[in-house]
Amino acid sequence: MIHSVLSGDLPRSRILSIVLLGILVCLALAPFLFPGVRTVDTAARICVFIVLVASYDLLLGYGGIVSFAHTMFFGIGAYGVALASTHMGRGFDAIAVGAVSGAMIAALLALVIGLFSLRVRAIFFAMITLAVASAVAVLVSQLSGLTGGEDGLTFKTPRALGPAFKFGKETFDGTLFGVKLNGKLLAYYFVFVGTLVLFLFMLRVVNSPFGRVLQAIRENDFRAESIGYRVVKYRVAATCLSAAIAALAGSLYAVWLRYVGPDTTLSMEIMIDILLMVVIGGMGTMYGAILGATLFVLAQNYLQTLMGAASGLVEGIPILPELLSADRWLLWLGVLFILSVYFFPTGIVGRLRNQG
């Protein structure tokens, strides 16, 4: 049963299994284990990034394709939901329409970029995606009538997903284990279930015959071609698939935030975050996405708090408090960047698996 849910791709390491199970439980029960607006928000972001990072791993780790346009697809999904909700009015139908058309547009765009440039060498594909992504970001901020420009769009999701919607009054008296039963809780589970389904789907894809071909192409595209695989077609297919899933992740994010903006979904910064999450977690492992996203989002949210405490401790010593001040959290994130690439060259998953 588990074997087939996980598509036969088990964690293959005791510690890894425990950690993954821990994360699963924490995310599944986040609103109850860590009640609080901020914590649940963090959990939801972890979920969204797991999907996003896993979809990037599909491309990078399995397909060996470096793309800088992943946030673009993410953004397309997010804007899809935002625009549909703005123009069709709040409702699940708007979310569905937005998500599906977002995913389709993303896949289509990926198809066009792929057909044009996947024949070119890898590094050029990377650069072309970089260029296209920045052009789209510019476009989004230009078309402010449609997209809200730099300011982004704030919109309403169905009432059932908002904090004002209360349920379970009769049966549970409106609370369960001290947690208020409201639309926010539903929204969280909407995101969580979406994440679970998409992740398991991707796990299946990478362990399907298709996934094997992708790996073969990553290893040696020349030879893959000469044993009869149409390399460009597979690469394009992988790009489209990964773009569509990234767009769905964007839709989940939009549903959660009820806001989209260029900095939130399209920025180069997020692209780099994704890259880092894939590498920290372990490329080509899928499970790495879970670990990478969890760790990174936690660091992003709590590093500052941690450093504030640390700088209090070294008060009086020259320059050190300055370096440890909470405002310098980026500095330490950079250091973390470098160290993680050194100490986890195969990612955390690779590390854990090698230990036996």
């Binding site: 609080g36 607006v37 901020r38 928000d41 510019v138 901020s141 230009q142 402010s144 420009g149 730099e150 300011d151 982004g152 704030t154 908002g162 904090p163 004002a164 935030l257 009820r258 806001y259 903006g261 900095d263 939130t264 500052q304 909470a326 405002d327 310098r328 959290w329 980026l330």
Partner: protein
């Protein structure tokens, strides 16, 4: 206790603005409470949160402040984009968000809700003040702004304000935000203006880097009799104005411009504590701090509805003189300053000298939230 959250982009490109804003806020609280940091016997507790200039963070942090920290009121943020994302949260939690120093018109315009107040100026105030400062007989004005919503809205407001003075723009030039080479925009402006008679002014609104003024100046616009006009900025940026003695415009704040006891106190304390004069955003921060204290005092509690009632139409003293929250859109009406640049070799930056104060009554600021 009274809990106040300051949510702003402490890290990132606006770090300098953020620091000024926060220093001002703390000074404002101190001034308004007479140094006790207590209102009606209750201690003020400040909670700081860093949005990293990301709208989604601003949103989450505001939710956290209202939901988990249970603050009575929140202040911030620096960037308009972040502010816009935060507005609905105030409505959801039915608590007050005092916007400072984000400037977009839509904060107290299209995206406004009744829990939003703003102490900082909005773009229209900048535009209208500039229009009054620049208007005159036989004046030809061209504009240069960034090609995105902020720049276009700013110019639109400016154009409208000028129209009431009977002046229309000669040329509007928009350049991408990341433009570094201004040769082409300058040539287009020169070509549009060179054959005109009378006073020719180029009005530039440009937020952030790029520094178009000195680059265009390097192309010698004086050849065609073109002069610059602009808006105020932080002291560091005023350094680059040293190339433009005599340039006129309207500004929001420079520490020598206002003449009132609050400003005197601010300037003195700021010199004492930091060794520098208060800057552009310090004044706004202080205005927000004083507003918060005055509002709670007036309302007698921190109950949201009581606060709203107290704040609508409230007048209070700030480093910029008396401000008033307009009841319709909760925008603080405030004095602006018509300046002229003077260069003094002993001062590191160019000095905007007061030509005249533009009072609240003089400036018809449109209400845009209907």
């Amino acid at each position: 206790d009274i809990k106040i959250a300051h949510i702003y982009g402490k890290t990132g490109p606006f770090e300098a603005y953020a620091k000024q804003s926060h220093d001002g806020l703390m000074l404002g609280l101190e001034y308004a409470t007479g140094g006790t940091m207590e209102i009606n016997g209750e201690k003020i507790i400040m909670i700081e949160k860093d949005t990293q200039l990301k709208p989604e963070n601003g949103k989450a942090l505001l939710e956290e402040a209202y939901g988990d920290d249970e603050v009575d009121l929140a202040i911030g943020p620096v960037s308009s984009g972040v502010a816009l994302a935060m507005l609905p949260v105030a409505e959801e939690y039915e608590k007050i968000l005092l916007v400072e120093p984000a400037v977009a018109d839509s904060i107290t315009g299209a995206n406004w809700n009744r829990y939003i107040f703003r102490t900082s100026r909005n773009s229209s105030q900048d535009a209208v003040a500039s229009a009054i400062a620049l208007a005159g007989d036989n004046v030809h004005i061209a504009t240069l702004a960034q090609d995105y919503a902020f720049g276009r809205d700013g110019i639109a407001a400016f154009r409208e304000a000028l129209a009431t003075k009977g002046i229309s723009l000669v040329h509007e030039e928009y350049a991408p935000t990341d433009t570094t080479d201004f040769t082409a925009p300058a040539e287009r402006i020169f070509n549009a203006m060179k054959d005109l008679d009378g006073t020719k002014k180029l009005f530039v609104i440009w937020a952030g880097g790029g520094n178009p003024l000195s680059k265009i100046n390097a192309m010698d616009p004086g050849r065609f009799g073109i002069e610059f006009a602009g808006v105020g900025n932080i002291l560091a940026a005023l350094k680059s104005y040293k190339e433009f003695p005599g340039m006129v415009g309207a500004t929001y704040y420079y520490y020598e411009l206002p003449d009132n006891p609050v400003n005197d106190w601010l300037v003195k304390e700021h010199f004492d504590r930091f060794g520098t004069p208060p800057d552009f955003f310090t004044a706004g921060g202080m205005a927000a701090g004083i507003a918060a204290v005055e509002a709670i005092k007036k309302a007698g509690s921190t109950d949201t509805e009581a606060l709203i009632t107290a704040m609508e139409g409230m007048e209070w003293e700030t480093p910029k003189g008396t401000m008033q929250f307009r009841p319709e859109d909760h925008q603080a009406m405030q004095t602006m300053y018509h300046f002229k640049i003077r260069v003094d070799d002993d001062v590191e930056w160019a000095i905007p000298e007061l030509v005249r104060e533009l009072t609240i009554d003089e400036m018809p600021i449109p209400i845009r939230n209907q």
